[in-house]
Point group: C2
Chain length 364, copies 2
């Protein structure tokens, strides 16, 4: 067989039909991959199936790839069970930590030649199959951590899975992955929870003054505590180190503010923290918020009147381009606004030309 | 004059044409209020004027209301200058802290009968007139803090300003306001900066694994450090107290994780923090993210095909309802999606009926 064929994925068994497992299944179904679904919760499998995620797994059918989509602490044992039954040619998982499952898998004597650990960075504050989306991984990073034992075929199969789901494959060492997600995911999650915990004890007046800022800071804190306790357990030391650095900065800021309230001490340390924060946000790839980064944005000037948007989207439809998302920005007090049409990058030029032909103002 | 007339605002002078000042001016212009613009930065005034925010203030014209939109530490002096020149019948400000400007105003001998301190909770991570939006305050809280000295006419004028801008007026004592915003705005801002500061020193690999979560947590940390230093200086003690509570929670979490890495101690304390976070997010009024809460959402099932959205928005346009925003949710792998149409609440029923008449599936 050629490597190309090796990387071919005709069938996948998804073990664990939660948010991530079901979203992977939905994405694979859109690419006409045969998907078998399994979960210790029969209700979760039924719901995933009704959402079009695939068919029930009898345990008999052998798949090209098995995706272990269970909490980190259960990955290795699940992998061992699947390998014992020879359920698939290759295996991966989607746990948010990587070093622990790999170590446990080696300890349990799993076959590490057919297993490549993975982690799509695409959670939501909602969980379960009902929150699943086929486009959850579009343009989002998807880390994978091949060991030295992993066969090239197994690596190719996981890379194929990532590409079928529209993710951005990021090959990284397991230990480096865990240090990285401690900084960009796990410690921010604990911090968001700590900010949100202040709201749990805040006055109604305080909550009534909540703006968009605190909503954004605390959004992820609505996630399932049991799931996240498992994730943090699996990455304890790297997360602890980031939290300790956070505590140092916040303690220093609190001290400066107390000193100020007392004798008017300098705020230089606080300003420095805020400035480092600005630098940090500037280093995050891609735009803040908005749809997945694989979309291109075509901005069109429109009058802020009933029917105007309809005429625009009608015109866009005539160009045959599918609009993935729309944002309206009433940028000024004038009777003029800008509509941002999000489309696949390859469609942006056709849409721009098509709209200009139809007399629409498309700047740039 | 009747109280109604007293509350009438035919002209407003906005001193400080930054994000908030210019947004207020744009909102007032949409309501045909005459707006005079002033800023120590002539370029900021010019840009605001070109955006349609109003006309230059010569300093001669007397307005019904003067809005002092300068950083907190300059509010009192600016108010005194305006009152000395009898620039307006009534005065307010938009600073993010309230006790300090009020104390300084009293200290400087400002006329507290014509001044009512205010604070619209509607910032953006962008600043300056170019980022201004007439709809910035739609459905957002707008705190105002009348003192005992404030005349009913002055209070009515500020309430009128808030309603003209579409804000939700929240009457609150200045000290309580400052404690509240420390919890829902100022401490979250410092915390977001501390999380973002970790990114400033993180590896490219780590940044490459950034997902939506860390983007949301750190979005506000991109704001101007000088502006925020001034805000935090003006609310030092309440912010310090919240930061200290945050530090206690994060230190405890770090200790639990270190202990776990050592001897596998219980994670109960961490789970408890996460659970308190979930409770906290649940107490924030309104939905997370999305457009201002004054909008009603009409959800419509649509096929995920080119032209389908065009037909829907066309149909919506035929109902004569103006669509404020649109969100698309490709909830499943099926060829079916849901479009969320955001409209003024009073228009939701007409839109629902109109769409159903035209054969669209509008659930609920």
């Amino acid at each position: 067989m050629t490597p190309i064929e090796d990387a071919g994925i005709g069938s996948v068994v998804v073990v664990g039909t939660g948010l991530i497992g079901t979203s992977i299944a939905l994405a694979l179904r859109q690419r006409d991959v045969r998907v078998f679904l399994a979960d210790r919760d029969a209700g979760a499998v039924r719901l995933a199936r009704e959402l079009g995620a695939g068919e029930d797994w009898t345990g008999e059918q052998r798949a090209d790839l098995a995706v272990v989509a269970v909490p980190p602490q259960f990955v290795a044992q699940q992998l061992l069970d699947l390998q014992k039954r020879d359920s698939a040619r290759f295996y991966t998982d989607v746990a948010s930590v990587k070093a622990l499952p790999l170590a446990q898998a080696a300890q349990l004597g799993c076959d590490l030649t057919t297993y490549v650990a993975g982690h799509p960075l695409a959670g939501r504050e909602r969980s379960g199959p009902a929150a699943a989306r086929a486009d959850l991984f579009l343009g989002r990073p998807w880390a994978y951590c091949p060991t030295d034992e992993a066969s090239p075929r197994a690596v190719a199969a996981v890379e194929r899975l990532i590409s079928l789901c529209g993710g951005n494959a990021v090959r990284v060492d397991a230990a480096e992955h865990d240090r990285a997600v401690a900084v960009v995911s796990h410690a921010p999650h604990v911090t968001a929870a700590a900010v949100a915990a202040r709201l749990a004890e805040a006055s109604e007046t305080a909550l009534g003054l909540s703006g968009q800022g605190v909503r954004d800071v605390t959004r992820i804190a609505a996630s399932d505590p049991a799931l996240w306790t498992g994730i943090l357990e699996g990455n304890a030391l790297p997360v602890a180190e980031v939290l300790e650095a956070l505590v140092d900065d916040l303690s220093a800021a609190a001290r400066s503010l107390r000193a100020l309230a007392g004798d008017g001490a300098a705020m230089g340390q606080v300003t420095d923290l805020l400035s480092r924060g600005v630098r940090g946000t500037g280093r995050i790839p891609g735009k803040h918020g908005g749809p997945a980064r694989t979309y291109a944005v075509v901005q069109v000037l429109i009058g802020d009147r009933p029917g105007e948007l309809a005429r625009l989207v009608q015109a866009a439809g005539e160009t045959g381009v599918n609009i993935e998302d729309i944002r309206l920005e009433h940028a000024t007090g004038l009777e003029l606004g800008a509509a941002e049409l999000y489309v696949r990058p390859e469609a942006a030029e056709a849409l721009t030309h098509g709209l200009r032909e139809r007399g629409w103002q498309v700047p740039g």
